[in-house]
Amino acid sequence: MLRLLAAAMIVLSASSLGFAMAETFRCRPQQLRQLQFALTVLSGEIRFRQTPLPQALAAVAKATPMPVGQLFADLEAALAGADGRGLSWAWQQVKPRGLALAPADYALLENLMQVLGAGDVVQQGRQLDLHLEQLRHLELEAERSRIANEKIWRYLGVFSGLALVLILL
């Protein structure tokens, strides 16, 4: 009886680990799409209304679904306390929460923070277009790795749990 319970526990925890891994593969392309939406909103604010960044970031945070929207809300809050130290500094203070983004995605965002706010409207528009395009590439890549990995991780979780049970038995 006890053995059966232990075996069930092992299978359950192994498969939940697998499912969690699969979940990050599932969420990343979705969040990259939301990021693209966010940058499109930002681009509109800058290009057509020339809204200064604090208000523009607030508008983006409001328009973008969570948890990606939260990233911009946090950035706005960090910028409010930056005391002149610049957007890159504010970005470093932001601790992403509940995101499935990969290091490459964060690297791209960090890159954007280096140039955001530092040029005229035309330049900023071009920079945002460029970053949007790179986000699209990242999204395609994320989608490919989702197709390749999502199911594998689910099966891997369940089956490795089963395998472990077999070995221990």
Partner: protein, 310 residues
Amino acid sequence: MALRHQDIWQQQVLPMLGARIRSALARLEAGEADRVEEIRLRPGRPILLRGGGQQAWLSPQLTVEDIRETMNILSQYSYYAFTEQLAQGYITIQGGHRVGVAGRVAVANGKVTAMAELGSLNFRIARQFPGVGEPVLPWLIHEGRVCNTLILSPPGCGKTTLLRDLVRLISDELGLTVGVVDERSELAGSYRGVPQLDVGARTDVLDGCPRDQGLIMLVRSMGPQVVAADEIGVEADAVALENVLAAGVAVLTTAHARDLADALQRPVLRRLIDGGCFQRGVILTRCQGIPALAGVVQLPHGRWLYRRVG
């Protein structure tokens, strides 16, 4: 609406400065801070304060980083939102204070397109002198109508201050609708479209608008009885003014000139004055370093209506 100078200093000036500069200025005593009219920030130099005809250096020695931090705060980290203003050499901040900017400029087709690299900053703290227009206003009213008026003065004698107070008085005391074209955000000190200086309750302001277009826009859209604009001098202004006058709207404006004779040397001003566009000229001067009214003349012939003695 009118804030005490101490509140202006605490709420509008200090928060706009980089951390090191702010803490240096926060150490000033209230009496000293009250007198400050200008804060000059230059890399490699201490802070320079000017006011009441005096000046004083204040440590620390500033770095490029201090200037950049201050500029980040001023521009809200958003150069793109201030490109035009910076190309003109200043930013207007909340409270109507103006920050002049110098540095390396970028030029395209002979026109300044951008402030490419920051050098020094000059905070000019806007102060209002409510009431300076009161002794002048009666001279500008003839048979119950506000006369078309040209204020003449050398720089720094209070042209803009006088114009602002006249606008306020005409709006609040005479109850007329006034339209202001504030190309350089000096007159009303607008911040995000809202006047920060008191220009009266019946006044509409077109902020940052080119004078010639603004005058015509106002007449067309806001139905003013009086319009005001600062520092006319080019041909386009003259054409716009003639249009406004043809619509039966009274005009208040200013020009750089020592006196009437000086103004008549300038072709555009001469054409406007000789053409009978103005009925009154107000001439300002400095008397022992303090801006003062030199007199009021009747135009176009220049007969003194009032002349300061001495």
